[in-house]
């Protein structure tokens, strides 16, 4: 049986704890924690009469906007390479259902990939990430895993990469992406590149998509949940390769999508079209979000480093994946439990991401401490020094105090 997604489960638990009057520092859930851009809210409010079923792949105008989005990012794309859906999660599920062979996953990786593989009856081969960056497997370990898997008669077929990465908050450098894609090509794997955090790459960091390295067999998934903080709108999209492989895959995905969810809701098609055409208000909103995420996650990173934790420096999004194994005898779950019980801080143990249970690693999502009210969140978004805002400073203090006591 597939359990409830660990991230969604802890989010509900922490909300209940708060509702019961506890002051909880919620660092466990990957929600962007920011308000809706007023222009987007207006677009949705003006699309409420869109009550017809939409094409399974998405409305043409929305798909054209999506094609432009990728083309502007160095991946020339036509509208018929796009599929829109109610979130990128259903698309990832449909991809795993449609693509042949076992799933090869970096370890750690986002909680839902392995669970989705289980739902469609796929075996998972986990491969540790490199020291340099998460979101893709260490190349040597990948080659060794694939060789061994084939030797024992297994059929690895799909490699799932995440850049910028969840849970490590890192961006794989081009050379690493190249090496991993070469190995994928050599073993005939399809690559699914989850780039939902792409627009949240920090200043000076850039995403190098696997679709540049293995264009004929790489599918890119993304959505508006992270960059635009629209998790509750449930808008995702995928870019299929312009190749016979991509066209055959499209037919399979249309079959699955039409039988599992039909289409992205009509009013959300208009939102997708507006956001993916990237008008100035959208660009400015994302730029401000990046500044805020970057400053807060870096401040939290400094606290972990200060107590001697080992942690990759954050390069995109709003996650840290510290390793406290050096000073701890307890594993990830026990440590996350102590943070919650003794310090009212919610994090997600590395085990949820498929990591080694004995290692004291956990994911810290810093994006839900931007404020309790809309006003606080707008202030944070517009601030040059958000870390100095009292409500954010207080959260970082709470984290510091806990880390020193641990």
């Amino acid at each position: 049986m597939v359990q409830q997604s660990a991230t969604l489960a802890i989010n509900e638990q922490l909300r209940e704890r708060r509702a019961a009057g506890k002051r909880v520092l919620h660092l466990a859930f990957g929600e962007a924690g920011l308000p809706v851009l007023p222009e987007v809210a207006d677009v949705l409010a003006r699309s409420v009469d869109r009550n017809s079923y939409e094409p399974v792949t998405g409305a043409l105008d929305a798909r054209r906007a999506g094609a432009g989005y990728f083309t502007r990012r160095g991946l020339p794309t036509e509208a018929d390479q796009l599929i829109l859906a109610p979130g990128s999660k259903p698309l990832l599920f449909a991809l795993l259902a449609a693509l042949d062979g076992d799933l090869v996953l970096p370890k750690p990786a986002w909680v839902s990939y392995a669970a989705q593989a289980a739902l469609v009856g796929k075996r998972v081969h986990g491969v540790p990430i490199a020291a340099q960056a998460g979101g893709l497997p260490d190349p040597d370990a990948l080659a060794e895993t694939l060789r061994a898997a084939q030797a024992e008669g297994a059929r690895p077929g799909v490699l799932l990469l995440t850049t910028p990465d969840n849970p490590t908050g890192t961006i794989a450098p081009p050379e690493l992406v190249r090496q991993v894609c070469q190995i994928a090509e050599q073993y005939g794997l399809a690559v699914v590149s989850d780039e939902i955090y792409r627009d949240l790459a920090h200043e000076g960091h850039e995403v190098h998509s696997p679709a540049l390295e293995l264009p004929e067999r790489t599918i890119v998934t993304a959505g508006l949940s992270k960059g635009m903080a629209l998790g509750g709108y449930r808008i995702g999209f995928a870019r299929l390769p312009d190749s016979p492989f991509g066209q055959a895959l499209r037919d399979k995905l249309v079959g699955i999508a039409s039988e599992v969810w039909s289409c992205l809701p009509g009013p959300m098609q208009t939102v997708a079209e507006y956001v993916l055409s990237e008008p100035e208000p959208v660009r400015a909103h994302i730029a401000a979000s990046v500044r805020l995420h970057q400053q807060v996650v870096r401040a939290c990173y400094a606290e972990f480093v200060a107590v001697g934790a080992s942690c990759r420096p954050p390069q995109g999004g709003f996650y840290l994946y510290p390793d406290l194994s050096a000073g701890q005898t307890s594993g990830a779950e026990a440590l996350a439990g102590r943070l919650l019980d003794e310090h009212d801080i919610g994090v997600l143990a590395g085990t949820a991401f498929g990591d080694d249970p004995s290692a004291a690693r956990f994911r810290v999502a810093t994006s839900l401490c931007y404020g309790e009210t809309e006003e606080q969140r707008w202030t944070a978004l517009r601030s040059d020094d958000p870390v100095a805002l009292p409500w954010i400073a207080e959260s970082i203090d709470q984290l510091r105090t806990a880390l020193r006591k641990l």
Copy 2:
């Protein structure tokens, strides 16, 4: 490989034909064909700031409204028996993934049940419907199929019923529901009752839910796509039984939902809460819709009867399932093809619903002829005699002319 849903596929084909300038009578797609109630549009427009991830089962207020909806229909329900989702289609998919055993389906049945069963690797046992009504299998044939299936070592586990039915437009009488549920109980089946057309029962007809007969093992699914004509909003919900079976099933569904679609979009939760609390404007809108659907589908029924077709009289929704086998030598697909090619009329061949290919049966959906403009559709909805409106009369004339020539 699962093909694109036949209903969604023909809808896209017919739209393209129309876009190319042809006058096509679109009787092939199960869309309610009516505008958004202004009060509902306002509710959505006022909920655009709801951008957070929602609980997997749905927001408590929306689930409470859903519990009230069922309670008012003679099925006492608590909020924790409800699950909301982006359409009832994902819920049906998750139910088939979660419930054990093979699927038992009336023949004909809605196009997606068997396709979803294929996606989750379930075998399907088709059982012909009774002469009286569709949406549930003939009791004697059901008992015989189950006996034979068990004898050969198969494991039938789930019986899917539809009332009011798609494609036959009929409502199963209580005695038939009772008999079928008794057999389901005897063989230990779970029953999934798709009641998405429930609120479109015609005057003088009432739905008798299988959940009244087999309360501990019946799951009811429904949504706002048909009664409220909100197909493009993608709002579905399910009522789980208040039983240990229902509680265990809920846990499984939460696991699947959290890994496949996360939640119903936030703004749509508010719409669900508003509609399911059934304020006066919603009740009046549905009542007007029922009057319109009923008059138009009855007028079309009369045309089929006039040319000697065999057809069950419509009792709910906006479908007919005529049988022209008496005057035809060609099967369903050829007949549907002739209607399209020679008469520009789109219907869906019975084969799409799992029916016998040699029988000249097809589904006629009469709900997309209410007008090409919002104004025409509102006029139809408010008319005492919609069949006399020129644009509706013209569609019925086109149907009559075609039927006489066939």
